[in-house]
Symmetry: C2
């Protein structure tokens, strides 16, 4: 039977090949091959297949297996399982995989990682599980990780690697290069070396391209750059990300309260921070919790979204109270009931536009106390302009539709009021929340919608009762 | 007068100091100093002040000056003006600055930049202005830039630097290092060197840390890594960004159609791409054009937002048509008019949640044809769960509020319908748009809102007329 190839041979073949198609999607053939290897419990083939795989590809593969196959794969790989792959899968999947493992096995895997990757895995576990794993680590590893956990969540101290290269100022370039050739546990990648005094206070840094071009007898103090962008270990990772973006950094030294070098932040971690923060903002604005993941169960997802919908319901009832207090007018003139949602909806859209811009500009620090007043003025003017434009359009359409010119005037005036109110709310609410140290992305939406719903219904029905004397 | 210090002395003093406060905001003292220097037209002090400034700080300074001061500053700096600062300011400000300059002056400044930075500046100009500037450049510079513009907008070819280090495979490490020491026009920063054959086909790469640790007589072919993540020059920059994120790259070689090395993409540019793409998605979901900037005038902003509001108005009128067709029922029972917006609003919020998750997952490739069906099923189940939960809550409240149990049943049933419809629309619309190669972030919103408004009003009023026989 020439057509069937053994899984072992296929594993051998796929070890060398690219697992992904042009779009970057994992090829279904690879997933199927792994499934058949797992069905046969053929550990040797599995080990051979993944031996050269990048952690990202191994992670993508695990994510596509079902839960049972996933734990079988990890068990079959044993100590050949690359723990780095755990940082390439969703939190839900990671938790599932770790649950099946003994603390000692996890500790063994964690020990092979750089501190930043180890912290990322341990961070999601609860205190007890984390302690159980840390206790099984070597004192040195355990100390480094415990220190990272002393820094607050989301701080640079949690994201840094404590693997870096620091040399004394009196060394020559030649000594540095010899040290790099001989040292056993160098960081996986590095792009600069640091120069420190005996107390580990930072004197400067030298980028590798500069080091390469220097002659061996040169003393490092002669070529070091003193100017550096250092990050405090307790500083927020978002602030560190802004620094990387602003100055196009590849890495930055992290220092403790007394200015001692304790670690290094690298741009690959910062890329993840930027991606996460953007993800959080997008989700927050859409009313979804930051930690919702596509692999979550129906129940977890529904529960997570319930709260936001509940807040929305409360604000909707608030707006409804306004409508209810005008029951008499609505009864007298049903056209008002038909048109009221248009006023609320246009105001809501204009407010969302303003809010989006304000939230984004606050996140990137383009908006702050220095220019807040100018932006508020601008937004209100924009609201007024578009309010007038939509007053004319909507007023004309409504007049003809209900063959009642008065209706057109009333809805027009209400639209101007609501678009101005919406623009004002759209920028003032995020500014106020930011001042109160509350994340404007998460909390602005419901406030702003309440403003436009209430103002929309109220202004429309007030103006109508005055115009039509009802 | 011991208290007043001359601007020249202050410029000297601030040249050395950090211009920013702890939050990363530019200090007002610096801005005031520059304003007084500009008022005195003191070019020498200005040049001294900015001589050591990072392009990002110079850009931030320019952004805080008014338009008149800005052009005066650039004029006073003359050839000392660092063109890199232009990539640190908003497009609007950049255009203003460039407008005041002669094409020859711009060309002179452009010639000092790396290709990626030059392209970023020239990209926003119109054809004629760009040609006028390219014509003033040296043939080599002009050729490199024209070639970049042959690649489509948003492609890797536009983002790459054509400054990179490529050496033949038979060179030794010693030869490479000597070349690095002697070469005149090396890239500003580099983290790896490439090995190419005489036809510039890529053989492999060596990271600098690896090069540093190798001995001089070693031939580069012995230490090169063959496995590389190459990017096609016409490939979308977003795809390149996914590659960088997935494999934690610092740089990646860019190749043309016949696999020749034409440039290199670096992670600092990718950080900008990720930030821009996230910014675009957030703005698109909020109904704001991607190129809206906080420095835009009221008129530009209002015009830019008008279109989205117009689309929203059309969908609002669609929903209103539904309400209007139930005028008789609304007249008979005004409570229906009061409660209808709640049904529409809850459905809209649930749909926005689903849409946000779907748009985001499509952007990060977590959602694709392979798991679309599973996600649709999950979203519908979530909608059903929360629909039932809110049917119970809202139904109970409405029954008591209007002392009419029937109202509670009707609004409850309508909520279940609308939350399911909203969840379905929230995931199917982005999937369909993605399939049609339309950006789901930009276009999903109005479709999805139409679904929930129309379904909300229709289901509520249909069920009501059937229940109450009106």
């Amino acid at each position: 039977m020439a057509e069937t190839t053994s899984p072992a041979a296929m594993a051998e073949e796929w070890r060398e090949k690219d697992w992904r198609d042009e779009e970057g999607e994992l090829l279904p053939e690879v997933v199927e091959l792994v499934q058949s290897i797992l069905a046969a419990e053929d550990g040797a083939s599995l080990k051979s297949l993944v031996s050269d795989a990048h952690e990202a590809d191994l992670g993508a593969l695990l994510a596509q297996l079902d839960a049972e196959d996933r734990s079988r794969a990890v068990a079959l790989l044993g100590s050949d399982f690359d723990f780095n792959a755990l940082n390439e899968v969703d939190e839900t999947i990671r938790a599932e995989i770790l649950e099946d493992m003994a603390p000692a096995t996890v500790a063994e895997g964690i020990a092979t990682l750089e501190t930043d990757d180890a912290v990322a895995i341990l961070e999601d576990l609860d205190e007890d599980e984390r302690s159980a794993i840390l206790d099984k680590l070597s004192p040195a590893d355990s100390f480094a990780l415990r220190r990272a956990f002393d820094y607050p969540e989301g701080s640079a101290g949690r994201r840094m690697k404590d693997e870096f290269i620091a040399v004394p100022p009196f060394w020559t370039v030649g000594q540095v290069i010899d040290h790099l050739r001989e040292a056993a546990d160098l960081p996986d990648d590095f792009t600069e070396i640091f120069i420190v005094d005996p107390g580990f206070h930072l004197q400067g840094h030298i980028r590798l391209d500069r080091l390469l071009r220097a002659k061996r007898p040169v003393v490092v103090t002669d070529i070091l750059e003193e100017e550096m962008h250092t990050v405090g270990a307790s500083e927020d990772q978002e602030d560190a990300a802004l620094l990387f973006e602003r100055y196009n950094l590849l890495s930055a030294p992290v220092v403790d309260e007394v200015n001692r070098l304790v670690g290094v932040l690298t741009v690959d971690d910062i890329v993840d921070v930027i991606e996460e923060e953007a993800d959080e903002d997008i989700k927050a604005l859409g009313g979804v919790k930051a930690d919702e993941e596509i692999s979550d169960s129906v129940w977890t997802t529904a529960k997570g979204r319930f709260r936001w919908l509940l807040i929305n319901l409360v604000t909707a009832f608030l707006a409804t109270t306004v409508l209810k207090s005008f029951e008499h007018q609505l009864e007298a003139m049903v056209a008002l009931a038909v048109l009221a949602p248009i006023v609320a909806s246009q105001g809501g859209s204009a407010a969302t536009q303003t809010m989006t811009v304000a939230v984004r500009a606050l996140a990137t620090r383009e908006l702050g106390p220095r220019n807040a007043w100018r932006i508020v003025r601008r937004e209100v003017s924009v609201g007024l302009f578009n309010g007038i434009a939509f007053a004319l359009i909507t007023g004309t359409v409504a007049s003809f539709w209900f063959t009642n010119a008065g209706i057109g005037v009333v809805i027009g005036l209400a639209l101007v009021c609501n678009l101005v109110a919406g623009s004002l709310g759209g920028v003032l609410v995020p500014l106020a929340l930011d001042r109160l140290k509350v994340d404007p992305a998460i909390s602005s939406g419901p406030f702003v919608t309440t403003v436009t719903d209430v103002t929309g219904f109220f202004s429309f029905l007030m103006i109508a009762s005055w115009w039509f004397r009802i």
